[in-house]
């Protein structure tokens, strides 16, 4: 019985998240369109509302081309690694009080591990495609993810210190109901580092070097088509959703809000996640891409020292007060 309910929960979660991913692409295209004084998708359905479904159907039925000289096995499993790693980290996200699939005590660490695993998918895709653009994309992604993983991990250490737990539900509970309980204010430096590292970690503008379409065609996914390409795409959007969720949980107080919404406890959580998503899109519509050496310089010379200083200060203050 418990297994069945668990399976039901998993299916519901996956379906809801996939729908969110589909409509996140619509949301993004609409908002970027409006910001560029265009309209975005308008043709399929009312104001283009069925566009994500049409895109999904299209990518399902497209021919799946595998280059002759590619490493067949790795080429096939690379997008699966990406998607599985991203999806499995959804399990530990608490959407509301008790709305979590796996309430494990190493939640935050699990998410870090999974997002580092997703980088393997990207690197393997770049390597197995046997194409120079894919290879460059994979290499860049590797370097970027490794250097920003450190900054991101360190930026969240402050949160762990304050909450005294790695369990995501515990972190939310530690922040309490009020506005001043949020870790956004005491951890503003951590939040700054986290926000930038989050953009880099999800390969979004202005750090979208692994798939820089102006230089590398499409980076690591150049040789992919059809469903496999869609899997990379889904992995990227789930990654965005996940990073937005972590930001919400660790800095914006998770599911807590000014008042409780009846019948739908994750209301505030979803709202905050969408605020993050909007910020992702807003930044994409505004900023140009960083140069590669600037990206590395920013990560190693600014973000990591800043995050380390934040840890020292947080630990010092906690030792003095507590």
């Amino acid at each position: 019985m418990t297994v069945l309910t668990m399976l039901l929960h998993i299916v519901v979660l996956v379906v809801v998240v996939l729908l969110h991913v589909a409509y996140a692409t619509y949301f993004e295209r609409k908002i970027i369109g409006r910001m560029q004084v265009r309209m975005g998708p308008m043709r399929v359905g009312w104001h283009g509302l069925l566009q994500p479904i049409a895109d999904g159907v299209k990518s399902f039925f497209k021919e799946d081309i595998i280059p002759e000289r590619a490493d067949q096995t790795l080429f096939r499993i690379a997008p699966v690694i990406c998607l599985v790693a991203m999806m499995s980290s959804l399990a530990v996200l608490p959407f509301a009080e008790g709305w979590v699939l796996a309430d494990i005590d190493i939640g935050l660490l699990f998410i870090f591990g999974m997002s580092a695993l997703a980088a393997y998918g990207v690197v393997l895709a770049g390597w197995s495609s046997n194409s120079k653009y894919s290879f460059f994309g994979g290499m860049r992604s590797m370097a970027q993810v490794i250097s920003y993983e450190i900054a991101m991990g360190l930026s969240l250490v402050g949160v762990m210190l304050m909450a005294g737990s790695l369990n995501l539900s515990e972190i939310v509970r530690a922040q309490g109901d009020s506005l001043f309980g949020m870790y956004l204010l005491p951890q503003c430096v951590g939040f700054f580092v986290f926000f930038i590292a989050m953009l880099a970690e999800t390969n979004r503008v202005p750090f979208d070097l692994p798939e820089a379409e102006t230089e590398l065609v499409s980076g690591y996914s150049t040789e992919y088509s059809g469903m496999r390409y869609a899997m990379f795409f889904m992995a990227e959007y789930i990654g965005m959703l996940m990073m937005a969720s972590i930001g919400t949980i660790c800095f914006l107080g998770g599911w807590h809000g000014p008042f409780a919404v009846p019948f739908f406890p994750p209301f505030w959580f979803v709202l905050k996640v969408y605020l993050f998503m909007f910020a992702f899109i807003w930044i994409r519509a505004t900023l140009p891409r960083y140069r590669y050496d600037q990206l590395m310089g920013l990560g190693w010379k600014l973000l990591i020292p800043l995050a380390l200083a934040n840890i020292v200060v947080t630990a010092g203050v906690k030792a003095l007060i507590g």
């Binding site: 409006r34 910001m35 004084v37 505004t286 900023l287």
Partner: protein, 212 residues
């Protein structure tokens, strides 16, 4: 003169990335502005007088055929040499030129409008029709019958009486009346012909552009 490529900024501006915030505020403002997109097949653009579209030969209501007198000026002036005219003279009617064939290769045309400007009898016109794409070439080599048919179709969808239709090539703006041949002295409003003619930048100032 010293050109300053990088605007100076204070150290506070450098730390807080003022440029990024400026850029973000601009995109946020544009989010709430009206998009300039025109949903084309449903929403047609507003075509102004002087648009150079599909070719046509004006059908003369008296004779029922073209007004063309076979003077060959259009064929001579055409920069892309896309007009072909064959004529013969008929001594019986006092050496009048009879047109055997009048053809325009629309695919070679550059839509400069010289032909209608040079035509002394306003026989040829580039109409305001622009939706005439085709999948085969032959249908875009207009013969005389097709050109007359183009005019009939254009005249049918024209608002207002057909004989009052005038465009800035038939009656060039800004030229004094006496320099034009008689058929080109068409009745137009004062702001078109005289000193107060509204052309170029002034036009935009007088008439607010409806669709940017």
């Amino acid at each position: 003169m010293q050109i300053q490529y990088k605007p100076k900024r204070s150290w506070l501006g450098t730390i807080l990335h003022v440029e990024i915030i400026k850029g973000l505020s601009l995109t946020l403002r544009k989010l709430f502005s009206r998009p300039v997109t025109r949903q084309y097949p449903e929403e047609k653009p507003e075509i102004r007088r002087g648009f150079r579209g599909q070719h046509a030969l004006v059908r003369d209501p008296q004779t029922g055929t073209s007004k063309c007198i076979g003077c060959m000026r259009c064929a001579v002036v055409c920069p892309s040499r896309c007009i072909r005219i064959r004529i013969h003279k008929e001594p019986a009617t006092g050496n009048r030129r009879i047109i055997d064939c009048y053809r325009i290769e629309a695919l070679r045309c550059v839509y400069c409008g010289y032909c209608e400007e040079v035509c002394p009898v306003n026989a040829i016109v580039l109409t305001e029709v622009f939706e005439y794409s085709s999948n085969d070439r032959p249908s875009l080599f207009f013969t005389m019958e097709q050109l007359l048919g183009n005019w009939d179709r254009f005249a049918a969808q024209l608002q207002g009486p057909v004989d009052e239709y005038v465009n800035p090539f038939w009656r060039p703006r800004g030229l004094p009346e006496h320099t034009l041949p008689a058929p080109k002295r068409l009745p137009v409003s004062r702001e078109w012909s005289g000193e107060e003619q509204v052309v170029g930048k002034n036009w935009r100032r007088h008439h607010r552009p409806e669709q940017s």
